[in-house]
Amino acid sequence: MVGLQPYLVVSALLFFIGAAGVVSRKNVFILLMSVELMLNGVNLSFIAFARFLRDFDGQVIVFLVIALAAAEAAIGLSILILLYRNKESLDTGDYDLLRR
């Protein structure tokens, strides 16, 4: 029988893997996907706590977070299309308009 803690460990691992991806990669696509990975790590701990406390609040929050992630992906990807159209590059180092 698996308890609460193993689920929380998996959730923390996913979150930190996502965080490592966000700070170490330069490809914008992989940056976006790492953010999704962090969101999913947090979702897993919400679901595990909902099961542990035997109520629905955690599941409802995850439901709302998934809707939010859909909105984030739509906006993020359209911004990314604009960036690629203007800079012809996927490298975050090339988007330096604000520090020149």
Binding site: M1, A20, S24, K26, L37, A71
Partner: protein, 166 residues
């Protein structure tokens, strides 16, 4: 017993998918590894008796959001030469780990120090769509409406941003 085996299989798949996602060079293979991770997470949600959320995870996350990501990658027609060189990736990753590993260590140690964590049995309809909907539309009605406004804003914003001429 079966639950334990499934838990370990699914969580290894989820963590491996995450690791592969952040280390792939081409975004398309990263996206496909992310699908692996999300589908295993749906399995973990089902193990936690959250049937509806598991289905939504497969339909919306692995289905819609990642299909959108793959679609945009294909649409931009990214060639091997257009990809960032990422020559300092391993160095950056090592630097990132210097910051992240201590935090992760503290978090995981404090998780393992939590007292009494066995799951108690739940009602037979826990996680089903009817009690979930009752809860969502009674106690969480305002956040739900906020999310619908947010989605409308996102749709309008995406069209405004991506279209050349409106």
């Amino acid at each position: 017993m079966l639950e334990t085996v499934l838990f370990y299989l699914l969580s290894i798949a989820a963590v491996t998918g995450g690791l592969m996602t952040i280390t792939r060079r081409h975004p398309l293979s990263a996206a496909l590894w992310l699908v692996v991770s999300f589908l295993s997470l749906a399995g973990l949600y089902a193990l936690l008796a959250a049937q509806l959320v598991a289905i939504v995870q497969v339909l919306v996350y692995a289905g819609a959001i990642l299909a959108l990501v793959v679609f945009v990658i294909m649409l931009l027609n990214v060639r091997e030469a257009d990809l960032p060189a990422d020559e300092g990736f391993l160095g950056n990753l090592a630097l990132a780990l210097v910051g992240i590993v201590p935090v992760a260590f503290v978090v995981i140690r404090s998780i393992l120090a939590l007292p009494g964590s066995a799951f108690l049995p739940v009602a037979p309809d826990y996680g089903f769509i009817q009690p979930f909907g009752m809860h969502l539309f009674q106690d969480w009605l305002f956040p739900f409406e906020m999310v619908s406004i947010l989605l409308t804003v996102a749709v309008v914003g995406a069209v405004v941003l991506a279209k050349r001429r409106i």
